[in-house]
């Protein structure tokens, strides 16, 4: 193949370039360069360089990347979180719980809201973590399936339980043993996210919505139903509706659910698969009913009286966003102290009162009631026993399953 790989421009190309550069401005046309380049382009691109590329395996053996902990000397912790996922004071500049943490421990928290999307963030940190380098972050917060992938790839550090007494004692039982991190060796939940059915009473106009089947089948809602583009939430909710268990299912179950959803798509029942952007559609009434995340619904309900939610009798999905310490993080001990701090019911209550997601901390209720009585009584924020019993988690997927399922699901959503 060597003969097709000139190291420099081919003679005709060089001649064309030289000529076109010299003969005044008219000579340097795109055409002449293109024409000269066409023959040589492939060769210059270098088929040889092509085969030299390749992407090495991303996984690392667990614990193969040791990191030195600088927590004792550097009193900081770098915390990357999702946007609008923490308490903010009235000025909008300070986070009261982080200030309390600093006052108590002397550790400064560099809080960055640089996570917008699990997939995008994964793309962002992948190069460093795959190469075993420091990402500059001591805590990252990722949804459980991605947290599971990072653990599988060996990209995060094992936590030291002795530094996490509150977390160990107060973690809500429903989050204790996810199949991707049994016993929480690598991660602790920041908040839980429940998926329920939300609806706009005015847009429904008397139509009753109680189950996922209503969403998928009721002809009165044609073209005004929203599903979530997050595969696990949408598929999980339909699985529950069909009497299957999202924690234990096989390829056939998945395909059956997909077929059911496909039927609804083909009928034109479903308007869109959305991320967080369903909130404006629902408030406006463009969507009459949709699958929705509880934290959003609490917020929407207080903004527009027509919006409400219902928990289907078959149950609902709960996933968690989890705090992880990536490999090579410089301040693991500080990070663990911060994690533990948020498992003190008092601090968890401060946080829950502000952000309206499911709190993973047991014993928050009395503290939360002192700040916000309504929030404390809201089962979407502090799930009661009955609510907890209906909560389900999606099982973790192998990387092969993940690719196959995501591919099928994304094809169903049109791409």
């Amino acid at each position: 193949m060597e003969q097709y790989e000139p190291e420099r421009l081919t003679p005709p190309q060089a001649a064309a370039l030289r000529r076109s550069l010299r003969n005044g401005r008219a000579a340097l046309t795109r055409r002449s360069l293109l024409r000269a380049g066409a023959g040589g382009a492939l060769a210059v691109g270098g088929l040889g360089t092509l085969s030299a590329c390749g992407i090495p395996p991303a996984g690392l053996a667990r614990g193969s990347v040791s990191s030195q902990d600088h927590s004792a000397t550097e009193k900081v912790v770098n915390f990357s979180n999702w946007t609008e996922y923490i308490d903010v004071d009235d000025s909008g500049k300070h986070h009261p719980t982080l200030d309390t943490f600093r006052r108590r421990t002397g550790i400064k928290v560099n809080y960055t809201e640089d996570i917008n999307d699990n997939n995008e963030f994964f793309g962002k940190i992948k190069p460093q973590l795959a190469a075993g380098q420091d990402t500059g972050r001591d805590i990252i917060v990722l949804t459980d399936w991605l947290a599971g992938r990072l653990i599988r790839l060996g990209w995060v550090q094992k936590l030291d339980p002795s530094l996490l007494p509150h977390a160990y004692a107060n973690l809500s039982p429903q989050f204790r043993n996810p199949d991707w991190d049994p016993g929480r060796a690598y991660s602790y939940p920041w908040q839980g996210i429940s998926t329920v059915i939300a609806f706009n009473r005015k847009a429904l106009d008397g139509v009753e919505v109680k189950t996922v089947s209503d969403l998928l089948d009721n002809p009165a809602l044609k073209g005004r139903v929203g599903m979530l583009s997050e595969m696990r939430d949408t598929i999980g909710m339909i699985m529950l509706d069909m009497g299957k268990d999202p924690a234990r299912f096989g390829d056939d179950d998945f395909d059956a659910v997909l077929a059911r959803l496909q039927k609804a798509v083909d009928k034109g029942q479903i308007r869109r698969f959305t991320g967080n952007d369903y909130t404006s559609d629902l408030a406006k009434g463009d969507l009459a009913a949709c699958l929705a995340w509880a934290g959003d619904v609490v917020q929407l309900k207080s903004d527009s009286p027509d919006v409400d939610y219902v928990v289907p009798p078959s149950g609902y999905m709960t996933s968690t966003d989890n705090m992880l310490v990536p490999n090579r993080a410089r301040h693991r001990a500080n990070a663990e102290r911060l994690m533990d701090f948020y498992y003190e019911p008092q601090q968890a209550a401060e946080l829950a009162a502000y952000i309206n997601y499911v709190t993973p901390v047991d014993g928050v209720k009395p503290y939360l009631a002192r700040i916000d009585k309504d929030a404390a009584d809201n089962p979407l924020i502090v799930p009661d026993k009955a609510m907890q019993a209906k909560s389900h988690a999606f099982r973790s997927l192998s990387s092969k399953e993940e690719t196959a399922y995501e591919e099928k699901f994304s094809k169903l959503t049109g791409a």
Binding site: Q13, R22, A36, S51, G54, I55, G223, V265, G285
Partner: protein, 309 residues
Amino acid sequence: MPTLTEAPPPLAPAAPEPAPARRRGRFTPYWLLLPGLLWLVVFFALPLVYQASTSVQTGSLEEGYKVTWHFATYWDAFSQYWPQFLRSVLYAAAATVLCLVLGYPLAYLIAFRAGRWRNLIMVLVIAPFFTSFLIRTLAWKTILADDGPIVHALNSLHILALTDFLGWTAGDRVLATPTAVVCGLTYNFLPFMILPLYTSLERIDGRLHEAAGDLYARPATTFRKVTFPLSMPGVVSGTLLTFIPAAGDYVNSELLGSTDTRMIGNVIQSQFLTVMDYPTAAALSFILMAAILGMVTVYIRRSGTEDLV
């Protein structure tokens, strides 16, 4: 790869090279080219090579990817996603035609009739660029909302019944249909059509119009025989500047569309980020690039404006 050698050298004619006038300036053009070339190599050529390599690899995230020259990826990708390709081309073409129809009269007005308002109108054309692309697209969700004034008007005029019949809209709504996506594309890329049209119209000598009138051409004939042919460079570059980004766009389809309006950009995005099938995503990107390059080449040949662009 034997075809490469058999093809004659693309630029064979060995024109006698004029002797350099001054030796000193001989390398100046190369030095001037250097910054641009470096930029292109680092930010265009290298990523392209990397992408080409990715498209013929196989493997998975955990095992890593190896170059196996698996060209079947291209065929698999195309046979799976040709509807999205076709749709992208159709939507982009529709948006381009709409842009031309809307933009030409406006550019004409600015160039010949606007007088002292010219600068103001130009600013108005460019003004939307001061807000972000996303915000501009999201604004269309309010404009076309189900119980908004536009949809109400269209409904009471029974226009939506007609477009529903044609498959352009669905039921009594516009959002989440092909029409909404094409509207968004048209709106977002309209300035790219108007600006080149304006530049080429503005260059036309007004005396040509007078001359045409003196030769008893009616205004319509003048436009057909004088103005329009002279504005062809603007038309060609305007359509290219609209069509090419519109064909690869995924934001409009994502925000204004539905499951049956997804364009190839959406597929590439989800293959790269969600499915993490990098080879397929890379192959799709290359097919899109090749398809656009092919169509543009044919278009430029046909419109006979190779030297004007």
